[in-house]
Assembly symmetry: C2
Homo-oligomer: 66 residues x 2
DNA sequence: GATGAATATCCCCGAAAGGGTATAATTCCA
DNA sequence: TGGAATTATACCCTTTCGGGGATATTCATC
């Protein structure tokens, strides 16, 4: 699962809207949207701010081989 | 292990210099340096370009609890 | 279909990332 | 201990990320 899908899924699990997620993580609403839409040029610190809400962070994982 | 440490470690394992790693991954030399020094505001796509050399990519992982 | 909430798309702009290059500082062998 | 290779720091410049706000568009519920 991609990061964008993962975050979207986590957000729904916690019953949050994009606006709420943005507020709680301290990033902009537009950022949350671009992130969930799979933008690849996001800044790591911002993504980490969001992931921190779920007790997670960015790390290196083995590439998915389809 | 942080991403910066991880990449530095991987690079050494493969016997590459920062310059070689930059050339092979298609990012700038300065980027490689900032990355290995733990800069937190890096762009995900660039980091992924480097990780791809090692068959890895960025993903969400549980936060390290010290 | 109507109403309202949630999400997506577009604009402008300041701040900063990343590239290149040049120059220190460091490391590492011979 | 000297010198080459590697790594770190500093500067300028272009690109673009990310914020905010305004405007669609989609979605759910009645």
């Amino acid at each position: 699962m991609s990061i964008s899908e993962h975050i979207k899924s986590k957000r729904k699990t916690y019953g949050l809207t994009q606006t709420e997620l943005a507020e709680r993580s301290g990033v902009g609403l537009r950022f949350v949207r671009e992130m969930e839409q799979g933008k690849s040029t996001l800044r790591m610190d911002k993504v980490n701010q969001v992931l921190a809400l779920f007790g997670e962070e960015l790390g290196a994982v083995k590439s998915e081989v389809l």
